[in-house]
């Protein structure tokens, strides 16, 4: 039965992956080459020499807006519509560099020095949050020496340390 199966199986079946697992590399390569031949023969191509595309420096444009310098279409005069008059000033000076002035104003809200100060205190307070346990241990060690003398219990110094609320510097 096995011998008969090999002779009667179609090419497509033999090309399938599960049939090729048992084959050696050579027969696999042969099958691949045959497939490529079939594909490349069926492939259509233009028998025309390659045209070199010229890099053109001319852009075609159908709009007048980019050629001429036109003003904004909505206008109002002598205070008939104050919003449109504001808009007119805004739109017609967009071409000019007034936007850069607005950016400068934004930066002035928070100066660099203030930012540096805030960061300092911020880093300090968050740092203390993480160092508290170590501080407690340090405090505990110190207080154990003092305990004998003063008779204070351990948690109290740490509670005192906790109770002291540090006001953030403005």
């Amino acid at each position: 039965m096995a011998g008969d199966v090999k002779t009667k199986l179609s090419k497509n079946l033999l090309r399938m992956k599960f049939m090729q697992r048992g084959l050696d590399s050579q027969t696999k390569k042969q099958l691949e080459e045959e497939e490529k031949k079939i594909i490349s023969e069926e492939h259509w191509y233009l028998d025309v020499p390659d045209l070199k595309e010229k890099e053109s420096h001319i852009i075609e444009e159908r709009s007048f807006l980019r050629c001429e310098d036109l003003v904004y279409g909505r206008m109002s005069f002598k205070g008939f519509n104050p919003e449109i008059e504001k808009l007119m000033i805004q739109m017609n000076s967009k071409c000019k560099e007034e936007e850069i002035e607005e950016d400068d104003k934004m930066e002035a809200d928070v100066s660099d020095e203030e930012m540096a100060r805030r960061y300092e205190t911020l880093v300090g307070t968050i740092g203390k949050k993480f160092l508290r346990k170590r501080d407690q241990r340090v405090l505990k060690d110190d207080d154990e020496d003092d305990e004998v003398e003063e008779g204070n219990s351990n948690p109290r110094p740490s509670k005192r340390a906790k109770k002291m609320f540090l006001k953030p510097q403005d």
Partner: protein, 257 residues
């Protein structure tokens, strides 16, 4: 048909050109443009490109004229050539601000008549602050000032009333009252030129509001009907009046006021 030898583009600036004329560009646009780009800074890179505006088409190394009119040139920003022609029929162009009249509401989309070959479509979400629940109050017959976002010969033109950052910047429904009329496209461009004399002279007369659409439509609103009609008549007539005739007419009006 022998190929016409073209004339230099610079020689014809400001003169009448006819369709079929071939304009030759100076040679440095083709060959040295690359080396120019390398020398110039990054900010000036687009300077190597020439803008070929309406009425002109690229053909080989030169420009072919397709409309009759005056040839204009702008040397700034890499240079631009275009033909200043006169026409009354508007063809939608992407980026143009136009006045449209709402003709129909079809579900989520409004159909606007912009004077082109097809009605333009405007989605109800294309207004500032519009959401699915907060719909704009647009009725049939309203006037809308918007810009084209899609406008080519293969597709139906689409309009929006917001700009790229989502702000309306003056676009949207144009208010009540006022008067809408149509003029030629050339006059609109003349009126939209920076420091237009006609607009400056009219603004001295009385307070009024004006919206100019690139499709040839102008909307005017003033305090009384008479003032509105005076402005309308002046704008319609100023296309064919000389500067002195216009000044005389305005002087008469300001005298009669």
């Amino acid at each position: 048909m022998a190929a016409e030898c073209g004339t230099a583009a610079e020689a014809l600036v400001g003169q009448v050109v006819l369709p079929g004329d071939l304009l030759l560009l100076p040679a440095h646009y083709d060959e040295d443009a690359e080396s120019e780009r390398l020398r110039l800074s990054a900010g000036a890179a687009p300077q190597g490109r020439l803008l070929c505006g309406p009425g002109l088409r690229r053909s080989g190394a030169g420009l072919l004229v397709t409309k009759c009119g005056l040839l204009r040139h702008r040397p700034a920003g890499g240079g631009a050539y275009w033909v200043d022609s006169q026409q009354k029929r508007y063809v939608p162009v992407k980026g143009d601000h136009v006045i449209g009249i709402v003709t129909a509401k079809a579900g989520d989309v409004f159909r606007l008549d912009v004077g082109g070959s097809e009605p333009a479509s405007l989605s109800y979400l294309a207004f500032e602050g519009a959401t699915k629940r907060n719909r704009p109050n647009v009725q049939v017959g309203d006037l809308i000032y918007g810009q084209f976002v899609v406008a080519n010969k293969d597709m139906e033109p689409e309009m929006v009333c917001i700009d790229s950052s989502g702000k309306s910047s003056g676009m949207g429904i144009i208010g009540q009252d006022g008067f809408l009329f149509k003029v030629s496209l050339g006059l609109i461009r003349k009126l939209l030129a920076p420091k237009c004399e006609i607009i400056q002279e009219l603004s001295q007369l009385y307070p009024f509001e004006l919206v100019l659409g690139m499709n040839g439509r102008i909307w005017v609103k003033a305090k009384t009907i008479q003032q509105t009609l005076i402005i309308v008549n002046i704008l319609e007539a100023c296309e064919y009046m000389t500067a002195e005739q216009r000044k005389q007419a305005l002087a008469k009006l300001s005298g009669n006021r």
